[in-house]
Amino acid sequence: MRVTQGLEQTQFISALDSLESSLATNQNNISTGLAFTTPSQDPAAAGEVNGLDQVLAQSQQFSTNASSANSSLETESNALGQLQTQLQSVYSLALEANSGTESPANLQAIGAQVTAIQSTMLSLANTQDGEGNYIFGGYATQAAPFALTATGASYAGDSGQAQVQIAAGETVAKGDSGDAVFNNIPNGNGTFTVTPGAGNTGTGVVGATSVTDPAAYTGQSFTIEFTSAYNSATSSSTYNIVTVPATVPTPTGTYTSGQPISYDGVQVNLTGAPAYTPATVGPPATPAVGDTFVVAPSTNQSLFTTVQSLITALTPPTGTTVTPTQLSNAVASALNNINQAITNTGVIEAQVGGRINAITTAQSVATSQQTQLKTSISALQSLDYASAVTTLDAQNTQLSAAMQAYTLTQGLSLFKYIQ
């Protein structure tokens, strides 16, 4: 091949340009510490790093979310702990009132203490978080959800439970609604309630109740209606079980104070002397009237209704009186209901604890995921300094060799030898 000086020069210049360009790219990579600074240097890795960066940022957001949820749940947990303390106090006070030895003045004093506790409970129910949101309002976080009424408390919230995303596809409730904590508490023993008839005149008091045969229990309401006068000598009388629709023949039984009455898989303990008034022929003719006790499935009852009933029994409004039997029944009912509230609060406390655990787990998973992501990003994006510096060195050598070779060959010319 015939070579000319002009071609040699052009080729040398273009080789020089190309070498200096690679040298500059490499130098830029070394000074930034990145394996590529534009996508064209490694398109697949650039796309992947872009995606991983987004996943990493999202994961970091999940960690932030988890912290936020954790703080909300800590606030709730604290409120629930205080509520539990208040419930224990009411329970003790109710027991004290139920001893049968308290004077009316003492009962008034106990009633006053329960009233004070009720207002503490109200402020707990209207707890606000650091941002001023009412934590027991469900989704309605902007207004105080609870307000006292004559029979308990009204609820302006809803049963919503806001979720917080703590991992891809994993959300956790950041609180519980007032419905779940204060309103939806099953009354009685949690399965059924025993309510003395409003017109009872005897001294029958409801004691312990239980489901003895869950298989036989149908959940049907029935009324225990006394059908004979109480015999003080034998502490006994008779009763009918009245159901709707009527069971034929009507189940009957003999009542002995303190002995359980069993029907439909449940057991009800009554004590005292239920009243019975036989029918008179008149005039005016009156039907036979016996004391009644209604057994019905539990319904949800607000904690505030429970506490208000207790207060009303302990401190009857002016113009009304409460017999010792009525007081005993009211306190017994209150004890049952408070017990249910204690159980309910305990369950929710446990759930909150479970959520806090889930958050802790999610946070540690997120932390290790973030470390993993950073490692992956770094593996794709970070410069291999050893190889880059070696390459730089090689490029440098090549460049100076090219320069030297050019000056050497340019020195060769026949004209030098023509004298």
């Binding site: 000319t4 590529f36 534009t38 932030t64 979310n65 469900g138």
Partner: protein
């Protein structure tokens, strides 16, 4: 005797010419386009009766150029390809830098936007979180606009390049035609001696023209060269020049196209595929436009999905969410060649069906056709183009102002080309961000059955009664009634219940008297904000297979791949070009060492001839002396 002088004199003249030619070669060693010249010597044949065995000297027959048309053509073709790639490289590398590893900052802005929604979900009533979200949304819109604007600016650079190229091509064509005329005269008058310097000049101009546009040439018998561009459009025929002109694109006046006088104003841009001009046209259609379309597609995916979600949530004031972003509509332009004033409008009906391509709607001979501008494929069209029955295709609905338009009318529909530049935030007040779900459901506190109610979904967000609280009361385990509606609707577990534009399902066995409520979302409801944050990974594009986030990664990879591909092709073509240069140089180039040897050769021959002359002189003197002695 006179022979001796004649022979020596002819040799001295010939060698002097040879030394001149060699000196001229040395003088032009670095002149671009110069072809090495050599002297062709012939021995003079004795004439007349004196024909004997001794010749009568030497003569310069001609001075020849060392030239290979094949090698020159190869060099010109490889130069055209290289120039095209270099022009494209200028733009791919700019986009490579602009889009960079974060899609021009769009990717980062998107992540911040989705995370800001997550923060709002954590505390939906916090004004600070909402304001931060609104600010992030504004930054996101800005990122789209800036990136799109920077890429759009490349079109201006391309137009300037096209204009400059066309001017230079016309100037070169003019020079070639003038040289054609001079060469024809020179050849005719040269007695067989070619006008070498004119030929060199013309080759040099043709080489320059090759860097601007791919050409093909033919040579006529009179030595004139005819130059053609594109698919054989003549640029130079003998002494005549057909100039290239630029004209606005029929749809988009801001884009310049190429045409010639002989093409009757028809655009020949598509046939120009090499040279700097071909590279500029390719950069515009294959680099700049697709990048804008891809970026626009991301913008459309983001804004439509965000707006849909906004519309199905409640803002802090309890109203259904208004659009977060202004709705993006396709750009529709009528062809400048249309013969009537019919206009077309288009709307995006399904972002998931968009391809990122642009379409041409044409009406000819009673038939409508829709063609994908990038692939050239025909697209099926349904509907009649009227408001009542618009054309629907590829996620678009297209309406014409008058049906039918004039035959031959064409409309360009660009669903995504300008979308990224038009991303704008429609909301100004942080309380307008719809963090709450539109509806929330609840079961009555004293329900005794096992019925449960699912989430209510908005079916028709425009229903006026959508947000009216509704209680569903069960009359028996098998029938229910709404507030104010006819009682006794039969109940099926798990079946959808539709009312006021929402839908909800109740399952299980409710008891008589059980109630379920559907009511507007309260302020602390964060369902919509959660859904917004989850859109980060939710497939909205390409039939729901690619998320907005994923599309940015795809953009980064595709821009990088294209730049890488052009870089690789340029490197390869540079090698081809160098090879072609070497071929030409090895034939036509001036090697100074060769010339030095030639100089010595001719110098010695000249000296020897002069010596022969001197000997002839002394022979003559000897003869004269001898004669005078007698």
């Amino acid at each position: 005797m006179s022979d001796l002088f004649q022979i020596s004199t002819s040799a001295l003249q010939a060698f002097e010419t040879a030394i001149s030619v060699t000196s001229n070669n040395i003088a032009n060693a670095n002149t671009p386009g110069y072809a090495e010249e050599t002297v062709a010597l012939t021995n003079d044949v004795p004439s007349g009766a004196e024909q004997r065995q001794i010749g009568s000297g030497v003569a310069v027959n001609s001075v020849n150029r060392a030239y290979s048309a094949v090698a020159e053509n190869q060099l010109n073709a490889s130069q055209s390809s290289l120039s095209s790639l270099t022009a494209q490289q200028t733009y791919t590398s700019q986009i490579d830098n602009l889009v960079g590893t974060t899609a021009g900052g769009v990717s980062t802005a998107l992540t911040n936007y989705y995370n800001a929604w997550s923060t709002v979900a954590n505390d939906p009533t916090s004004t600070a979180a909402r304001q931060a979200l609104l600010d992030t949304t504004q930054s996101l819109a800005q990122a789209f606009q800036t990136t799109s604007g920077q890429v759009q600016n490349l079109n201006t650079q391309i137009n300037a390049g096209i204009t400059a190229d066309v001017n230079q091509i016309n100037a070169d064509a003019q020079s070639i035609s003038s040289l054609n005329a001079q060469i024809a005269i020179g050849s005719a008058n040269g007695n067989g001696q070619a006008p070498n310097d004119l030929l060199d000049q013309r080759d040099s101009i043709i080489a320059n023209l090759s860097t601007l546009v791919g050409i093909s040439t033919t040579t006529d018998t009179n030595g004139a060269v005819n130059v053609f561009v594109g698919n054989g459009q003549p640029l130079v025929l003998q002494n005549n020049v057909t100039q290239l002109t630029t004209q606005p694109n029929q749809f988009d006046a801001s884009q310049l196209e190429i045409s010639t006088a002989t093409s009757n104003g028809n655009v020949i841009s598509n046939s120009i595929t090499s040279g700097d001009l071909g590279g500029l046209l390719a950069a515009r259609s294959q680099v700049v436009a697709p990048t804008l379309n891809k970026l626009g597609l991301i913008a459309v995916g983001l804004t439509t999905s965000a707006n849909t979600q906004q519309n199905s949530g409640l803002d802090l004031t309890g109203n259904l969410g208004a659009n977060l972003f202004t709705s993006l509509t396709p750009t529709v332009t009528s062809s400048g060649n249309n013969t009537d004033h019919t206009t077309a409008t288009a709307a995006i009906t399904n972002a998931g069906a968009l391809t990122g391509d642009s379409y041409v709607l044409a009406y000819k001979a009673g038939t409508y056709s829709l063609t994908d501008q990038q692939t050239g494929a025909a697209v099926a069209l349904t509907g009649a183009g009227t408001t009542a029955s618009p054309f629907t295709a590829v996620g678009l609905s297209i309406t014409l102002s008058a049906v039918p338009p004039a035959s031959g009318d064409e409309f360009l529909i660009q669903p995504t080309a300008n979308a990224a530049g038009n991303v704008a935030v429609a909301l100004t007040n942080p309380s307008q961000l719809a963090a709450a779900g539109a509806l929330q459901t609840a079961a009555g506190a004293n329900n005794t059955g096992t019925g449960t109610i699912g989430s209510a979904t908005v079916q028709t967000s425009t229903n006026a009664s959508l947000l009216t609280p509704t209680t569903i009361t069960f009359l028996s385990p098998t029938s229910y009634s709404f507030t104010g509606a006819a009682p006794g609707t039969a109940y099926t577990s798990g079946a959808n219940i539709d009312l006021n534009g929402w839908q909800v399902a109740i399952s299980g066995t409710p008891a008589a008297g059980d109630t379920f409520t559907v009511q507007p979302g309260a302020a602390g409801n964060n369902k919509n904000a959660l859904a917004m944050a989850n859109q980060a990974t939710f497939g909205v594009l390409a039939s729901g297979t690619i998320s907005v986030n994923g599309a940015t990664s795809d953009l980064v990879t595709s821009v990088g791949s294209q730049a890488q591909q052009i870089n690789t092709a340029t490197t390869a073509q540079t090698a081809v070009n160098t090879q072609a240069k070497q071929s030409v140089q090895s034939i036509s180039g001036v090697n100074l060492d060769d010339e030095a040897a030639s100089l010595l050769q001719w110098q010695q021959a000249y000296q020897a001839s002069a010596q022969a002359f001197s000997i002839g002189n002394s022979v003559f003197t000897t003869l004269l002396t001898a004669l005078s002695a007698t």
